[in-house]
């Protein structure tokens, strides 16, 4: 009796596992942000459309790039979304291949700056975000990036750690405001080092800021627009600064892994993500600002995003090569002067 039971359950398991193997899997590597919303808006509808399974891997950029590097000979991941400088790093490390944009029906609908951010069609932009300063309008006014160092804000301001995605753009704008805008960011880093005791903390996660603002631990901080929703919900008077030097920001891009096993699925997925319908839904949920210029949003929603041709064109984005080539030196300068 026992033997029959054991044999039949083994047979059942084998059948079940082989049945699972029939269904195709698309493996994607993404940011961990808002995954619940992505599941309902993007992954589940795509799974229904393609009859395949979407396997999601998350983590920070360094971990995900390290994984791509480790699996170079036998890629596990089909496509990924990363920040523009990371896409350039992946290109240099020979981890990705050019995207055949003729296979993307929604390609022409993208803003021009999203079409080929690093050249060679190695990546396609799918979202932007502006970076500026959130501040308590009842405590202080911010008209310039230099106001981060003002006396009123001393002891009440947070700054992004140079290791975050917001760190270098913020330093870049401070350099611009100081009139000393060199790629090595020497002047802004020194200014931060001078004032380091005035900063409450050098945050590493955007989510920390909402809590600190809520607890009135800080009155201002540079942050990307993607975090605005959390601030807008608070019942404190908070505003998004439009400094006279302008806003900076970043663009996140899609990349296709070299030797990906499910290229056709990856293309379908990218095209789906770039479609007007999906980009509109993601925008309405205040998750990602659209790179598709055909997306139309009501004013109330648009206000919380980085939306509109003029705004997108006005963003002063740090060039990806500058970021990639200088990262190490920024880190060592920061550790030497600011790190404690």
């Amino acid at each position: 009796m026992k033997k029959i039971l054991l044999a039949s359950s083994t047979a059942l398991l084998l059948v079940a596992s082989s049945a699972q193997a029939q269904e195709r899997k698309l493996v994607i590597s993404v940011y961990g942000f808002a995954q619940d919303a992505f599941k309902t808006i993007l992954y589940d509808p795509f799974e229904a459309k393609c009859g395949c399974k979407v396997v999601v891997e998350t983590g920070n950029s360094v971990e995900r790039l390290a994984k791509l590097e480790a699996n170079k000979e036998n890629p596990v991941i089909d496509m990924a979304v990363v920040a523009t400088p990371d896409a350039l790093a992946a290109t240099r490390a020979n981890l990705i291949e050019p995207i055949d944009v003729s296979k993307l029906s929604n390609y022409e609908k993208l803003y021009d700056i999203a079409k080929d951010p690093i050249g060679g069609h190695m990546s396609v932009g799918y979202t932007f975000y502006a970076t500026s300063i959130v501040y308590r309008s009842d405590k202080v006014t911010i008209n310039s990036w230099n106001d981060l160092f003002s006396k009123e804000l001393a002891g009440h301001v947070a700054f992004p750690n140079v290791t975050t995605n917001q760190g270098p753009p913020t330093l870049y704008m401070i350099g611009k405001a100081m009139g000393k805008n060199t790629p090595d960011l020497k002047a802004p880093i020194e200014k931060v080092a001078e004032h380091k005791d005035d900063f409450v903390t050098f945050y590493v996660r955007s989510s920390q800021l909402t809590q600190l603002m809520q607890q009135e631990e800080i009155w201002a901080a540079p942050i990307g627009r993607f975090a605005w929703e959390g601030f807008a919900k608070m019942d404190l008077p908070i505003k998004w600064a439009t400094p006279k030097e302008g806003q900076t920001g970043g663009m996140n891009v899609m990349i296709l892994v070299k030797g990906a096993k499910n290229k056709d699925l990856a293309y379908q997925f990218m095209d789906f993500w770039l479609s007007t319908e999906i980009q509109t839904k993601l925008a309405e949920r205040l998750i990602d600002s659209p790179a598709n210029k055909e997306v139309k949003l009501p004013a109330a929603v648009a206000e919380n995003l980085t939306y509109g041709e003029d705004l997108v064109k006005s963003l002063d984005l740090q060039p990806a090569e500058a970021i990639l080539d200088n990262r190490e030196s920024w880190l060592s300068q920061w550790n030497a002067k600011v790190g404690q």
């Binding site: 360094v62 900063f199 050098f202 607890q215 009135e216 631990e217 550790n335 404690q340």
Partner: protein
């Protein structure tokens, strides 16, 4: 229990092999990364680690906080343990239960609670400003003080429990005998209680010191990236710079510090007994 020594050794072999393969070998591989530079053995990574001022600051800060937390835990721990052992056995059970209760809550939750308590609008600042000790709220968060408070609260239950069990095993008349012979309370503590409960102190001290050295969550949340400790520095080196060599150096330093602390405390304990 077993007739044959060889038999008993053979029975422990699977577990020993498992522990060796799954634990000891990977740890040795990890630590060896810090000793290799480009294929050959060298101490270059250690030299470069200690010659960077930031690393030295972090190392000294970690050591300092570890010692301070252990000493504070010992002082408060003895006071608490002495009160607890004098309670009736039912109340003693309740008190020990209360002390152990925080250990059942995740350290993340406990540490986040401190952010609310120590923040500018938190209870501490509210009390200080309402009493008039300060005009404006103090900035306590993201400082060594905040980490000290967080680590102390995290590890004190361990110290109290070890001391309670050590005090319970101490002959109670020893204290009365000393008092009868004319010792004052300081002498009673130093010459009677401390030597008789030294094992509890060694265990508690090792747990608290090692815990404080290797704590990650509390320094990460309460110190931020402004006040780095060895563990948060390790995390930064691995996740940002992909620098496993310096991570291995830090891991080795932490292991050496923990072992040394244990040996030192044991030495202090036995030294007292020789007198």
């Amino acid at each position: 229990m077993f007739q044959n020594r060889a038999e008993s050794l053979a029975l422990t072999l699977p577990a020993a092999l498992f522990a060796a393969v799954v634990f000891i070998v990977p740890v040795l591989i990890l630590l060896s990364e810090g000793l290799r530079t480009g294929g050959s053995w060298s101490l270059a990574h250690y030299a470069s680690f200690f010659s960077t001022p930031l690393n030295l600051t972090v190392f000294i800060r970690t050591l300092k906080l570890g010692v301070l937390v252990t000493v504070a835990a010992a002082v408060i721990g003895y006071a608490a343990a002495l009160c607890i052992v004098n309670l009736s056995s039912r109340n003693r059970g309740r008190m020990v239960g209360l002390i152990v209760l925080p250990l059942m809550i995740s350290p993340v939750a406990r540490t986040y609670a401190w952010i609310v308590i120590l923040g500018r609008t938190g209870i501490v600042n509210q009390a200080l400003t309402s009493v008039g000790l300060t005009d404006a709220p103090l900035r306590i968060l993201f400082s060594e003080t905040a980490i000290f408070i967080g680590l102390l609260q995290l590890f004190m239950p361990l110290m109290i429990i070890s001391l309670v069990s050590a005090l319970e095993n101490m002959p109670r008349d020893a204290i009365s005998a000393a008092r009868v012979l004319g010792a004052n309370w300081l002498q009673v503590f130093w010459k009677v209680i401390l030597p008789l409960t030294k094992e509890g102190l060694v265990i508690g001290g090792t747990l608290v010191f090692t815990g404080s050295l290797t704590a990650y969550i509390t320094p990460a949340i309460l110190g931020g990236s402004k006040v780095l400790m060895l563990e948060t520095l390790l995390y930064q080196r691995v996740t940002i710079a992909n620098d496993f060599a310096s991570a291995s150096v830090i891991a080795m330093i932490l292991i050496v510090m923990s072992f040394s602390a244990n040996l030192l405390l044991k030495r202090l304990a036995t030294a007292r007994a020789k007198r």
